[in-house]
Amino acid sequence: MTVTGAETGRRTMPAVAAKGVTKIYGHGDAAVHALRGVDVGFDTGAFTAIMGPSGSGKSTLMHCLAGLDTVTEGEVRIGDVDITRLGDKRLTLLRRDRVGFIFQAFNLLPTLTAEQNIRLPVDIAGRQVDQELFDTVIGTVGLADRLGHRPSELSGGQQQRVAVARALISKPQVIFADEPTGNLDSRSGAEVLSFLRTSVRDLHQTIVMVTHDPVAASYADRVVFLRDGALVTELAAPTPQTVLDTLLKLEA
């Protein structure tokens, strides 16, 4: 089963694509099939959510797509590069230049200020920060007066907004967000999600988000559903209700 953004009718090259991705942990009897031949593409400039019950393999899929973990079989492309063929060094450089991350927690380096954290990926790459973009992003996430603070002096929502800003600042080809609202109250969560939404709309950012929250998923353009390591269905223009219904069907 191949699931792409074909429903729009336009066939562009996807920002990220997986082809027959299989991931097996362990050997022999103890082998766990986390992913069983997943084929999926994520369109440029789209906000896609990956959903599924616990243990469905959604985090593993994201790790493999982002080049954080190796695949057992199959091919993962970010743009035109097959990342499964890259060594650690090239892979690291690719992550640095083309991928942004937002994790559930522990997104920031405690020793750095908010601004230093935001600039970190660009600094590591040794590039100059696009000051106009920086100002736009800071304005969007509303952190202008918190830039000199360290993570311990920021609220959970503010910390996640710093993480979003950091992901946006290097203009990556794709941003992977792993349960970005998992640790936040609903108001802060809604803020972070609307920033992601805005960045897709205004900056044409590609975002792939793993979540188990139907409300969070409803911010996406499209939701793909996993069960037992395989892609089972997808939903375009989701609402919390349709996402919930689909999940309930999957659990049944």
């Binding site: 650690d88 690291t92 991350f101 522990f106 405690p110 970190l120 990926p121 590591i124 040794g126 950091r166």
Partner: protein
């Protein structure tokens, strides 16, 4: 609880290993010290016992307190031989008998000791090869002298008698002097008893050995001889008592060695304690959730406390046991090295006394558990609710009032003591005060560590941050994020670096100061003097000075003679009269010499007048214008008027200097104690040297030294001392490096999620490794900077307390090298932690706590 602790320990074998290594090394050094000295002592005792076993009773002369070694007379020997129950009695002769080397000069700086070789039942000499001397023309030489001077059995050698007349002897064998320190030091030549008396000019005996007749016990014989010798004050021992006595005096030597080495062991253990303290602190911080979980499921504070202490006890016990084994190895190794370098050591099995085992285990255990006490107390403060928190809190550090108060207290008292030591007159007291001041100041640094580590890391991290870019900047931030931890880690290194800097500063200062003093004291190119012998006539004949003056290559020959005179006290001119009694060195000079006077004048320096050194003037309480009463052998009691005083340290003159004519009147025609000679301008060093040596050739005991030789000898001694001390301190530095490695690997473990995040964001493995190396580099540099600063200050202070008028020198190259090495060592310590961090899987690290 016990099972939980042990399971935790087993689960972290590597952590255990690193922690133990610090203790193992410290304990190993201490145990090694005991093993080495015990083995030496056991060997000596064994030999002494074997030697003394042949004697039933030994008689030693009464301590006379005089300048000449006391002797037993022939009459004493006759009396002893007359005692019932004495089967045989032999007097042992000992005195100077200079062996002449193949170069025609007497060997060594002191004459070899001539001794009598007794044959028969009381023979205590160990002949290594050949046979004992049985006739007048025969001699045995000690093995070491034979080896170094190239003599062997069958050779004909020349030995000088007490009047420096040469006699030829045939070497019949080589003798092993064993534990006799005197013979081992000077070298030994053994004759038959009669020849020994003739050669040394000794008529008495330094010991009489007695064998008992059958059926007579040594105790009874000792009593009989004691009563026969009643009134002479001689000491009478049984063979056993003699052995004990010899062993005791030998033991005093090994005890000094033991104490010296233990000092370094103590420093090593102090550093190890800091490392352990830090390790347990980090472990407790990292296991906050584990502790909280234990508390949640019902463990009491006491149980948590106990579990940490138990863990430290297990670590302490295991590492002490390993340390004991290391110590055995170290001790045996040191013995092997000593033997390989040709030290005359008895070969006995390696001694492992129960005391060594007890001390090693106790020290290791006490230090480990003691260092874990505070961390264990911290662990009890963990609230059960902490188990539920997902993110560990960043350690925030604020400078508390208590810390400031303590630091101020230490700093003030330490600084005060230090200033007092600098102001005080140089001497042991000032040195001890300075040591106290130094220790207190160090305590202040220890307390202030977390406060000063932040600015220092900015300083030390400046270059790495510039060089390594983002990884370097992150490293600098990491090095200061937990100031307490960084401070303890670096202080461990600081201890070693401080002491090393201190020693190198003192050495450099002493070298500079002595070189200048040497130039003042030794304002001449050559000095000719006699071998320093036991006999009074350790002087060279005056003819030698004449021969030197006759040489066209040489000039300004000054003879200096001296003798001992009875002291009648001084009166007038100074702060009251000094007391009489005791002896004074009185001397004279003849030749072109102009002493620089501090007080008085040379005018009227004729018979009946004298110049005195300022120290003698102080002792006697005289000043120019006063008088000194001297008891002389030839002129009886004479009074001399003090004309002037001179600096005893820089002038080459005896304490009381009289005109040369007067000297001869007082003491007769005494030979020259030393002759100062200069080369004529334009004469090459090797030419003038040959001229001096040629003039001295007919006088085997006359030794020629040049100022360059003296300086070189002094330099070599200093270098050697520096090397040994730095080598011994190296252990403490090694342990502190283990501490850096340990702290870093625990920090890396703690920050694995952070590292994973950085890697996800695009930090390459190489950059991550560089980041951790830079962090270790910064830690190493901080430790070194503080150590160098303290070492320089207290090096200066110590030098001030050691002597007056020092020329303070900082050995820049050595200090810079020390700083560089510390940084490098820090980087080395980071190799394994950094590799492990770089290899870690990103996904796994992100998922873990």
């Amino acid at each position: 609880m016990l099972r939980t602790t042990l399971a935790g320990l087993l689960a972290h074998k590597l952590r255990l290993l690193l922690t133990s290594l610090a203790i193992t090394l410290g304990v190993g050094f201490i145990a090694g010290t005991f093993v080495l000295t015990d083995t030496l002592q056991a060997g000596f005792t064994q030999r002494i016992a074997a030697s003394a076993d042949k004697v039933d009773v030994a008689v030693r002369p009464a301590e006379s307190g005089g300048e000449k070694a006391p002797r037993l007379s022939t009459a004493d020997l006759t009396r002893i031989r007359g005692v019932a129950g004495v089967a045989e009695a032999q007097g042992l002769v000992r005195g100077d008998a200079a062996l002449v080397g193949k170069d025609g000069k007497a060997v060594g700086s002191a004459p070899t000791t001539g001794f009598s070789v007794v044959t028969g039942r009381l023979d205590r000499t160990t002949i290594a090869s050949g046979t004992a001397p049985t006739a007048a023309g025969q001699v045995v030489i000690d093995t070491n002298t034979a080896k170094t001077r190239g003599f062997t059995t069958g050779d004909t050698v020349t030995v000088l008698d007490s009047r420096h007349r040469p006699h030829a002897f045939q070497v019949t064998g080589l003798v092993d002097v064993g534990v006799d320190q005197m013979l081992a030091y000077t070298g030994a030549v053994g004759f038959t008893t009669a020849t020994a008396q003739a050669m040394t000019g000794e008529t008495g005996f330094h010991e009489i050995d007695i064998a008992a007749s059958d059926g007579v016990t040594p105790e009874n014989l000792r009593a009989a001889i004691t009563s026969a010798l009643g009134g002479t004050g001689a000491t009478v021992w049984t063979g056993q008592q003699l052995a004990q006595q010899l062993a005791r005096s030998n033991g005093a030597d090994t005890e000094i060695l033991t104490l010296g080495l233990l000092m370094f062991g103590l420093v090593a253990m102090l550093v190890a304690a800091l490392v352990i303290y830090n390790t347990f602190n980090i472990l407790v911080a990292q296991r906050t959730r584990e502790m909280a979980l234990l508390r949640c499921i019902g463990a009491t504070r006491r149980q948590v406390f106990g579990s940490i202490l138990l863990e430290s006890a297990v670590v302490g016990l295991i590492s002490s046991a390993l340390g004991l084994l290391t110590g055995l190895g170290l001790g045996a190794g040191a013995l092997a090295v000593l033997k390989a370098t040709g030290q005359n050591l008895p070969s006995a099995g390696v001694a492992l006394a129960p005391r060594t085992i007890a001390i090693a285990l106790a020290v290791g255990l006490v230090v480990t558990v003691g260092a874990a006490l505070l961390p264990a107390r911290t662990a009890t403060r963990v609230a059960p609710i902490a188990a539920l928190r997902t993110q560990t809190d960043e350690q925030t550090f604020t400078t508390g009032m208590l810390r400031i108060a303590f630091a101020a207290l230490f700093l003030l008292t330490g600084g005060g003591l230090t200033v007092a030591a600098v102001v005080a007159d140089p001497g042991p007291v000032a040195l001890y005060v300075a040591m106290g001041g130094g220790t207190l100041t160090f305590c202040a640094v220890l307390v202030l560590g977390p406060v000063i580590v932040r600015p220092l890391s900015a300083f030390a991290g400046w270059a790495p941050a510039k060089l390594f870019g983002v990884p370097g900047r992150l490293a600098m931030d990491n090095s200061r994020r937990n100031p307490k931890r960084s401070a303890t880690t670096t202080v461990a290194l600081t201890i070693g670096v401080t002491l090393m800097t201190l020693i190198s500063v003192i050495t450099a200062t002493m070298r500079a100061t002595y070189t200048v003093k040497l130039d003042e004291q030794f304002p001449v190119d050559y000095m000719v003097s006699a071998q320093a012998g036991e006999s009074e006539n350790s002087s060279v004949p005056r003819d030698l000075a004449g021969a030197l003056r006759a040489r066209p290559e040489l000039t300004s020959v000054v003879e200096i003679r001296q003798a001992r005179a009875g002291r009648g006290g001084g009166t007038g001119g100074g702060s009251g009269g000094g007391s009489g009694g005791g002896k004074l060195t009185v001397g004279t000079f003849s030749g072109p010499y102009k002493p620089a006077l501090r007080g008085g004048s040379m005018t009227g320096f004729t018979a009946g007048s004298a110049l005195v050194s300022d120290s003698v003037a102080k002792d006697l309480g005289v000043a120019p214008g006063g008088t000194i009463t001297l008891t002389t052998p030839k002129a009886g009691t004479v009074e001399v008027r003090v004309l002037g005083t001179f600096d005893g340290e820089t002038e080459a003159l005896p304490g009381v200097t009289v005109p040369d004519g007067a000297f001869d009147t007082y003491f007769g025609a005494v030979g020259d104690d030393r002759i100062l000679v200069n080369a004529k301008d334009g004469v090459a060093a090797d030419v003038s040297r040959k001229a001096v040596e040629a003039a001295a050739m007919p006088y085997p005991t006359a030794q020629v030294v040049s100022s360059t030789e003296v300086r070189r000898e002094f330099d070599e001694t200093l270098d050697m001392t520096l090397m040994i001390i730095v080598g011994l301190l190296g252990l403490a530095v090694l342990i502190s490096l283990l501490g850096i490695a340990n702290t870093l690997s625990l920090s890396v473990h703690e920050r694995s999620r952070e590292s994973a995040l950085l890697r996800a964001l695009g930090l390459t493995r190489g950059q991550l490794r560089r980041m951790l190396s830079a962090e270790a580099l910064i830690l190493g540099l901080i430790g070194a900077i503080v150590g160098v600063a303290l070492g320089l200050v207290f090096g200066w202070v110590a030098a001030q307390t050691l002597m007056a008028d020092i020329l303070f020198r900082v050995p820049l190259a050595q200090v810079a090298g020390l700083v560089a090495l510390s940084g490098l060592a820090g980087v080395l310590a980071a190799v394994f932690p950094a590799r492990r961090a770089a290899r870690a899987s990103i996904v796994a690290s992100l998922a873990s706590d």
